[in-house]
């Protein structure tokens, strides 16, 4: 059974696109067949982070408008055989995605892949609603600061009311991915504590990804960080998060700390 996963946040710049690429690559590296879908029409980024920008011929909008077949628009990753990208259009605006068109493409992708990972645009408008509409699982990307947490809270409310699953009365599976976490700033009290973020959002924690130069370096060379730096802290955090998404129990660690003390918290929060 294919799973449609949306990577969403409300706020921009928190790491949705980075996380889509890293989680998608990590799942594919574990042998799952994965497609990452860029919903950020007009501001596409995922192709860059995946290093596929020069291979884009047709895009999501072309498929929706019947100008290309899905198979023509999908780009197979050069390094990981089971990973594909459906790029967004850079030239159209977001109204080019029709509700029915998106539904049709999602159905087709579900047939072909184990995981369909949708990279949501920022905001709570049309683009973000379309990206979450068909999801079975949501990864809510949050930075440990107040405005990001509030936006995530808002998005969780929408996930629980505006998705097809919610409208059918089914529960939406939601996971918190805390990114750009800086241990020193957390200790100084410049950032919200992990416990506080978890308490406010009250959804289970999927992982904590450190603020790291390795992430910037990875996107500059067009590789997901799980590919360019599988042994970096960020690469490992994403790989662990991907395994948890698959359902494997992996003890939780806070970047920069040796002990896995959050395991207890993670277990307790798995509501």
């Amino acid at each position: 059974m294919a799973k449609v996963l949306v990577v969403t946040s409300g706020k921009g710049g928190v790491g949705k696109t980075t996380s889509t690429a890293a989680l998608g690559a990590a799942l594919a590296q574990m042998g799952q067949s994965v497609v990452v879908v860029d919903f950020d029409v007009g501001l596409r980024n995922l192709d860059l982070v995946m290093g596929a920008e020069r291979r884009v011929v047709y895009d999501f909008v072309n498929v929706i408008q019947g100008e290309a077949k899905l198979a023509q628009a999908l780009i197979r990753d050069k390094r990981i055989e089971t990973l594909s990208l459906l790029p967004a259009s850079q030239t159209r605006d977001k109204d080019a995605l029709s509700e029915e068109g998106v539904a049709r493409v999602m159905d087709e992708l579900r047939e072909k892949f184990d995981w369909v990972i949708c990279d949501s645009p920022a905001g709570i408008e049309r683009g973000a609603s379309l990206a979450m509409r068909h999801a079975d699982v949501a990864v809510v990307v949050t930075n440990p600061e107040v405005s990001s947490v509030r936006d995530s809270d808002r998005i969780i409310g929408l996930l629980d009311s505006k998705t097809l699953r919610a409208e059918r009365g089914e529960r939406m599976e939601k996971h918190l991915l805390l990114t750009r976490y800086d241990r020193l700033r957390a200790e100084r009290g410049d950032m919200l504590k992990t416990e506080d973020v978890l308490e406010i959002l009250s959804i289970p924690l999927l992982g904590i990804v450190p603020e790291s130069q390795d992430v910037l370096r990875a996107s500059n060379i067009g590789q997901p960080v799980t590919v360019s730096g599988p042994d970096t802290a960020a690469g490992r955090a994403y790989a662990d998060a991907a395994r948890r998404l698959k359902g494997d129990p992996v003890p939780m660690t806070i970047p920069g700390e040796k002990t896995g003390f959050l395991g207890r918290l993670f277990g307790r929060r798995a509501a």
Binding site: R150, D153, G157, I200
Partner: protein, 235 residues
Amino acid sequence: MSAQPKDKSSQKPALRFRGRSFLALSLAPQQPLDAWLADLDAWLERSPGFFQGRAVILDVAALPAIDVASLRSFVADLDARGIRIMAIEGGDAGGAGLGLPPAIANGRDSQLPVAAPPRGKPAPPESTTLVIEDPIRSGQSVFHPRGDVVVMGSVSSGAEIVAGGSIHVYGVLRGRAIAGIAAQPGARIFCRKFEAELLAIDGLYKSADDIDPTAIGRSVSARIIDDALVVSPLD
């Protein structure tokens, strides 16, 4: 769908009137209107969407001397704040005229239904309490004008609960709680952990800045005593 042949006469759409009763919020401005509008602005800053999409009646009983031109500009002032007045109450019924919402009379303050004394085997009373299991997220608004609201989880910053009666929050109250809008000065607000942005009961309100900071983080109850909203710790 059945495809019954219809005779011509039944194809004509029937004109129907239905009576409908619903709860309207009523605004009762007082002179000086500038100061009253400033208070309103302070309220709207905390609760920007409060009046949006809701039926609002303007009660001008406290403004007997107001002329039509001033009333019109006052309604425009409200309109500019996103408050659409559906009717004007308490004024001289004939005097409003064109360009103003219609005048009405006989509006009643709404109260919770009082249970009739049991006679024989009474039917179980209809519950007017709304119980919500999930947390209320930022941007969500719960509007339950006819009874109490009980929230089992937390109410986020930027979320809002509006209740005709009392409000009980068993999680953390970080957003806004507006109780007693059905003209119920006896309504109360209870929460297990208080971090609210705004509390209001029967039109009296306090924002976070006006509340004793020692209450923050504690279990509190809020109620009206001598026309003032009082917040006191429960433990």
